[in-house]
């Protein structure tokens, strides 16, 4: 049978919309699921995706991508890459897979909501592909991650993590629930596709893929590339949505959605990609810093996209420009010293050579965050391992769920944005986190950080209660990824006669 050319039928298919007969349009598209923002349906029907694909072509290209990714994996399976990988790279893999696999799976639900409840048929079509994409992303990543299970039980957390109340998972889940899972289809499309995917997935998938290739992890690199090509396509759902909003007098609403989603996801990527890029990527394979990636791809490219769509740059852009040099450095200290509360084996990433790189990329690092590392390093050198984990827990931001941090060391600058509401003090790590809370206190006020839960009796008083609450058996509590051997680099200076520090573990 002769096939019509795509251009002869595509527009007709994508513009065919429902005409409700048995129920009203409001029942078919209830506002909590399909907020029209009072824009007529004809305007939504003008949705025009920049990247057009038919189902037949979609299936073919996805099949080809899968063949490529799985065949590279099969070819490399005998190479024992993982067994020989450095603790740096193992920590990065564990962090990536345990944070990303289930987040992708949850995204399928958000895209499915767009598939059912979007007002535009063209967008429903695109969202169908997005749903399938996200299912594929969760499946392929869990499949790749589980390959490592025979070497390391940490990868059990690729699936398990989302079901736990671990503090890092609470943080990520809260952000994704906020922007993708508790919003109507229109808002979720703008917040998830613009605020997360278009803004940040390059950071996690393109940059990480390049690092993976340099490290010789070609299997991981190929898999990440195959995911990013999907992300680049379905992330484009957000652009026409914003354009329709702006053209119909709803710029303020679209602007706010982008600003909320972008900031919420910046905080997550700052911790996930920031620590991954600047501390966990082996130094010899490290090229660009998080700051450099952010300046080029996010502040530059994404910023231009936002303006081209008729929006303004987010009001907090100047805060972001400062945050890209600070927040993840502070959080890396916390992730390391509170390592027992994490399921993977964190890396300090501050050997003398790494400190040199950090100082080069972030001038002033040694006099700020480096000062905290000086004390940590000295304690390890002296065998005072018990002093490398503080007794006092960190203060957690009541929006992003990460630590409330400022500048350390000689340029000490405490940061804490606070709100008193009905007798409760809420603390925020940044002005934008506080701003998001103040936009809709009723939405956020009931959420409790892990620290709030520890002090209101939700979690029992014993240390083991805390770990049990977070789903961590004794074997699932993080230890230094190098068993403190990274400290040996400090022994090659004047003090060569000193004995290597006593190992705490192993």
């Amino acid at each position: 049978m002769a096939l019509l050319k795509m251009e002869d039928w595509y527009d007709l298919a994508r513009e065919t919309n429902w005409t409700a007969d048995y129920v009203s349009t409001d029942e078919l598209f209830p506002k909590p699921m399909s907020d029209s923002f009072d824009i007529p349906v004809e305007e939504w029907e003008a949705f025009d995706e920049p990247y057009k694909v038919t189902f037949r072509d979609y299936v073919k290209s996805q099949r080809d991508k899968d063949i490529g990714a799985y065949s590279v994996k099969a070819a490399l399976a005998r190479a024992n890459f993982f067994k020989n990988a450095s603790p740096h790279w193992k920590a990065l893999l564990a962090l990536h897979f345990s944070a990303v696999c289930w987040a992708e799976f949850h995204s399928a639900s958000a895209f499915a909501r767009m598939t059912r409840f979007s007002l535009s048929p063209g967008m429903r079509n695109m969202a169908t592909f997005g749903t399938l994409d996200e299912i594929r992303h969760s499946q392929i990543q869990i499949y790749f991650a589980y390959e490592f299970l025979k070497h390391d039980s940490v990868f059990d957390w690729c699936h398990k993590s989302s079901k736990t109340e671990n503090w890092i998972i609470i943080s990520l889940r809260h952000a994704l629930d906020d922007i993708a899972h508790t919003r109507d289809a229109t808002s979720a499309a703008i917040m998830l596709n613009m605020g997360l995917e278009q803004a940040f997935t390059n950071l996690q998938f393109v940059a990480l893929s390049a690092d993976a290739a340099k490290c010789g992890d070609h299997s991981f690199a190929t898999m990440l590339q195959s995911i990013q090509t999907d992300e680049a396509r379905h992330a484009q759902i957000g652009e026409p949505m914003v354009r329709i909003m702006v053209e119909n007098g709803k710029k303020k609403e679209a602007q706010q959605m982008v600003e909320i989603a972008f900031w919420r996801m910046w905080k997550q990527f700052s911790a996930l990609s920031g620590i991954g890029m600047d501390y966990y990527t082996p130094l010899e394979h490290r090229e660009n810093s998080l700051k450099e990636f952010m300046e080029e791809w996010v502040i530059g490219q994404f910023g231009r996209t936002v303006e081209a769509l008729g929006l303004d740059l987010p009001w907090y852009w100047h805060i972001l420009k400062h945050d890209i040099s600070t927040f993840h450095h502070a959080n890396q200290i916390g992730v390391y010293i509170y390592r027992e509360t994490e399921w993977w084996r964190p890396i300090a990433g501050v050997s003398p050579a790494e400190r040199e790189w950090l100082e080069e990329k972030y001038p002033g690092w040694n006099e700020t965050y480096g000062k905290c590392w000086d004390t940590i390093t000295e304690n390890i050198r002296n065998g005072n391992y018990d002093k490398t984990t503080p007794v006092a827990p960190p203060l957690i931001c009541n929006m992003c769920g990460l630590e409330v941090t400022g500048t350390a060391g000689d340029q000490w600058q405490p940061v804490n944005h606070q709100i008193d509401l009905d007798g409760r003090k809420y603390h925020f790590c940044s002005e934008p986190c506080k701003w998001i809370f103040e936009l809709e206190p009723e939405r956020y006020r009931g959420h409790k950080s892990i620290i709030d839960r520890a002090f209101d009796g939700t979690i029992g008083p014993d240390p083991d209660d805390f770990y049990e609450y977070m789903g961590q058996s004794p074997a699932e509590r993080g230890v230094d990824g190098y068993d403190f051997q990274w400290i040996d680099g400090y022994d090659h200076g004047d003090d060569t006669s000193r004995e290597a520090p006593k190992r705490a573990i192993g």
Partner: protein
């Protein structure tokens, strides 16, 4: 007499910590509790003879080291900075 969690950032540390004190503690005792948990772990020892003070986050004036927490009106999770005078 009751336990009271406070958010405290000791000079030089990268972020706030939650430190539990007694509401009958003096501010000086609060400073000691916080310093015991942070100094030597994340920040170096202060030089001998350093006088440490506490102030509410966002203010410049130090709290009186001799008054007790209750008198100072500190609420649960109040944010304090501890710094060298």
């Amino acid at each position: 007499m009751a336990e009271l969690p406070l958010a405290i950032n000791v000079q030089g540390d990268y972020g706030y910590k939650v430190v539990v004190v007694d509401d009958d503690n003096t501010i000086e005792e609060v400073i000691h509790v916080a310093v015991d948990q942070i100094v030597g772990v994340l920040t170096p020892e202060f030089p001998a003879g350093t006088v440490l003070r506490a102030r509410l986050h966002g203010t410049d004036s130090p709290l009186d080291n001799k008054i007790i927490v209750k008198q100072a009106g500190l609420a649960k999770m109040e944010a304090l900075q501890i710094y060298a005078e």
